[in-house]
Amino acid sequence: MTEFFGVPVVVLLGQVLLGLINGSFYALLSLGLAIIFGMLNVINFSHGAFYMLGGFVTWIIFSHLGIGYWPGLLIAPIVVGLIGALSERLLLRHLYGVDPLYSLLFTFGAAMMLEGLFRYIFGSAGKPYPMPSALSGGYNLGFMFLPVYRVWVIAIALVVCFGTWFAIERTRLGAYLRAGTENPVLVQAFGINVPALLTLTYGFCVGLAGFAGALAAPIYQVGPSMGANLIIIVFAVVVIGGMGSIAGTIVTGLALGIVEGLTKVFFPTASAITVFIMMILVLMIRPNGLFGRER
């Protein structure tokens, strides 16, 4: 058996894979967070709550309506995106004029409210969600067992991340978005409906969080606190990567997932705080983040 620093390579690869899954969720969430910040200048603390909402929508339509995983994967982001777009239109919009710290506090309150609501209705315990039959089982690679669902999560997350990057960097709508980030007044003067663009952006990015929640349902249990715990780690990821570039955000998310996975092999007790330690190191060496520029 091949070994690496006294650890069998198989174990190492397994943890890297596990880390990549966490990294996929970090990437999906931090991507949405970075786009919302770029367009709306809002740090969306409720992003985690929308992730939880996505998980719950998937779980509720399955356990009450019998709608399975695949439609759920489509319905959850749409429902969450619509709720997000509505909340932007009705509430968040009125905070653009004031200090961005207030919109952070507002979304913070919204996250608390949502978590409190779901805890009140469904209790604190996690709800198990069955693995879809097409994705259960795994491949035997000879040296390790590779569960299909993990491969699926990583693949679909990469596709969605790349699709989002492509939509923003290479399409006309994306060009409007980027222009709107630079100078909303001028873009508005060209006849583009910037407020609608903002609602769309918020709805889409929050929908991404909902999608991540649906994706997480079969591997992590669906519970009220799943969002907040994740979003705080994603905040650290965002601080590490900086929010200047979309590709940078995705790469940072995936890379940190792997680092976290590897820490689990070498220092199991420190794995929960790996990302925070990384954040401290980056703050000392490159205060603006790896891909960041000071705003």
Partner: protein, 326 residues
């Protein structure tokens, strides 16, 4: 980038009004435990100090901190551990806890003030979450159960704190001391530099003052007093638990400060009293506390960002100026 400035001058009120108000406050806090359950009042006092301490950073320095639960809850663990396992006297446990939270504040502050505005909030939140994870993992904190059955001990070896009324008065004295420290700090040259940094950091730098040094001192002071509040709560309630180090706690104390009125001396205290009273009422009503807290948070940010005291003062000022003009 700073939270909306509310205070212009606090000294414009006539002296007599302030004196009457102060005397009334002293009298009320002395007689209150004979009418209201003392332990409930003790909790209120701890949170009044906690919110006022957070206000040093949030209100007077304009830095949004979402990580103060680490100081509050961390100090609670240290105080509880010192009393229960090491068997130290009350005053030593408090000093140890405050020393711990100050050191932690120095570390957090050193890291967090490298970033500004929104990033500052995210960094403090993440650092505090790290303390939360450590609190889950470390053996001495008792994990999910926390440290329970903490003895209250004797003050200076003579005053027995197991009497709840005595405990209340000891906490009252210490909280009053903490408030005095805040009042002194805010009305000193140091406090004026803080206010100037909040208004225009570049200009302060151009005057040859290092803003980061002042922010760090403010942060450490705030952390120390938050730690004092946490330690007092842990000893009075004889328990230190995970609930005190969660992000919800960091958020709740920001809500108290905001709800009462940022950058006002007594606003955060009012906010804390309101929130604690509300929680007390909600805990028997069966309504979800967290949901209500979040809702109040949203309403407060949307509709009255000046907070209760800030709005009242604004109203008072406006009505007075209207009277002067007529």
């Amino acid at each position: 980038m700073s939270l909306q400035s509310v205070s212009k001058s606090q000294t414009s009120q006539p002296v007599s009004v302030r004196a009457i108000f102060l005397v009334a406050l002293v009298v009320i806090s002395l007689v209150a435990p004979f009418f209201v359950y003392p332990l409930f009042l003790t909790k209120m006092l701890c949170f009044i100090l906690f919110a006022s301490a957070v206000n040093i950073v949030l209100g007077y320095s304009g830095l949004l901190t979402l990580g103060h639960a680490a100081f509050f809850g961390g100090a609670a663990y240290i105080a509880a551990h010192a009393m229960k396992v090491w068997g130290t006297p009350f005053e030593v446990a408090i000093l140890l806890a405050v020393a711990f939270s100050s050191a932690l504040g120095l570390l957090f502050g050193f890291l967090a003030i490298r970033r500004q505005g929104i990033y500052f909030a995210m960094v403090t939140l993440a650092l505090a979450q790290m303390i939360y994870f450590l609190a889950i993992q470390m053996p001495f904190t008792g994990g999910e159960d926390g440290i329970t059955a903490v003895p209250r001990g004797m003050l200076f070896g003579v005053i027995d704190l197991h009497d709840t009324l005595t405990m209340y008065y000891v906490v009252l004295v210490l909280v009053a001391f903490g408030m005095l420290v805040i009042w002194r700090a805010i009305n000193s040259p140091f406090g004026h530099v803080l206010a100037a940094i909040k208004e225009n950091e570049a200009r302060v730098t151009s005057l040859g003052i290092q803003p980061n040094r002042y922010k760090l001192i403010a942060f450490v002071l705030s952390a120390a007093l938050s730690g004092l509040a946490g330690a007092l709560k842990a000893i009075a309630f004889q328990v230190a638990s995970l609930a005190d180090v969660t992000w919800h706690m960091s958020g709740e104390v920001v809500l108290m400060t905001l709800l009462g009125g940022l950058s006002t001396l007594i606003g955060p205290g009012i906010g804390a009293a309101v929130v604690i009273a509300l929680e007390h009422y909600l805990s028997t009503s069966g309504l979800p506390i967290m949901f209500m807290i979040g809702l109040i948070f949203m309403v407060c940010v949307m509709l009255f960002r000046r907070g209760i005291y800030g709005e009242l003062r604004e109203w008072y000022r406006r009505s007075r100026s209207a009277r002067d003009h007529s």
